[in-house]
Symmetry: C2
Subunit: 208 residues, 2 copies
């Protein structure tokens, strides 16, 4: 069956689980995809570029987009807004791309409710909580307070991992990347209910 309307791969997991490293490993293998860039009100950090890491906007603009229903999902996390603008996602899906989301557990719930038929969700987990702490401390980008907050958040998120289709434990990067590569390829095979209904109609029409 054709995948006219693309498919969605949701990646969640605490900061420090190694999502970016895994994605970098497989990005050239999973073919024609669109990495959804979130919109946020949090201040830009050193080394970040507007339009690449995030779309950085002020709170007024974010609130206006909420009112105009321009977000597929949004959340208020750690004192800042984060959201997924719906327009570029629709465009990429129309072009038949695999749309990859890096969003949290709440975001996954919303995407699954709205576009569950074409969505495959993966939770990327560090092997243990203490390993997560170690990784966050090692990368020296966050204050001790932020690290504590992230760890607390991770403890909360991990309670809801049964809501995901797959769990990838990032113990060895190569293994985790191989697993995600396979899941991403399978994710592309999901077809929307709209496409299925069209197929069923054609399937019977031809007989007449």
């Amino acid at each position: 069956m054709n995948h006219k309307h693309g498919a969605i791969l949701v990646l969640s997991g605490p900061s420090g689980a190694g999502k970016s490293s895994i994605i970098n490993e497989i990005i050239y293998d999973i073919g024609d995809c669109y990495f959804s860039i979130s919109t946020t009100t949090r201040p830009i950090r050193e080394g970040e570029t507007d339009g690449i890491h995030y779309h950085f906007v002020d709170e007024e603009e974010f609130q206006r987009d909420i009112e105009e229903d321009l977000f597929l999902e949004y959340a208020f996390v750690h004192g800042n807004y984060y959201g997924t603008s719906i327009k570029p996602v629709r465009k990429a899906l129309r072009e038949g791309k695999l749309v990859v989301f890096d969003i949290d557990v709440q975001g996954n719930t919303v995407v699954n409710t709205r576009l569950g038929d074409i969505t495959t969700s993966v939770f990327i987990s560090p092997p243990t909580l203490s390993e997560l702490k170690r990784r966050l401390e090692k990368r020296q980008t966050d204050s001790q307070e932020v690290i504590e907050r992230r760890v607390k958040m991770a403890k909360k998120e991990i309670q809801r991992i049964t809501e995901y289709d797959y769990i990838v434990v990032n113990d060895k990067l190569d293994d985790a990347a191989n697993t995600l590569r396979l899941i991403a390829k399978a994710a592309r095979l999901k077809v929307s209910h709209t496409d299925i209904n069209e197929f069923v109609q054609e399937w019977e029409d031809i007989e007449q």
Copy 2:
């Protein structure tokens, strides 16, 4: 994460869709798996072997097993009982195998209700209804009456294909086999909620 308890791959699709041919193409690639053999009250056909194609039993025995809750799912189709005995499935899952079911839409609903966390379901469809008819007539194993009944059944089943995770249209055997191979590999990565809960517990315990 370990896959201590195995996973399930449900294959549905009308007789004549080419399920057996596709499975024969990929059986050696998908590794350690257990093909669930259905139990049935229908008469054994020429060329069939008891314990390989089906477990052939009489209606009395089937009824007794229903009463003792020994079926994962069962159905009365085309005047005969068909069911999946639960014991060999449990054993295969405990051994970490991928259990492959060849069951119908109703059976898929039951398996998904009872073991949805470790189940991936695939509907294998012939490209069109007229192609299905052509294939059934060509293989010359069924009477015209049986073919009519199968076609009628296929029309009903296809209305419910949105209940499946994946649709594989068997137009070219090689393409269909490649697609199913990929889905089967990904199916193996699903982990049970029991395993996930154990993982979460260990994940936090280690920190203490």
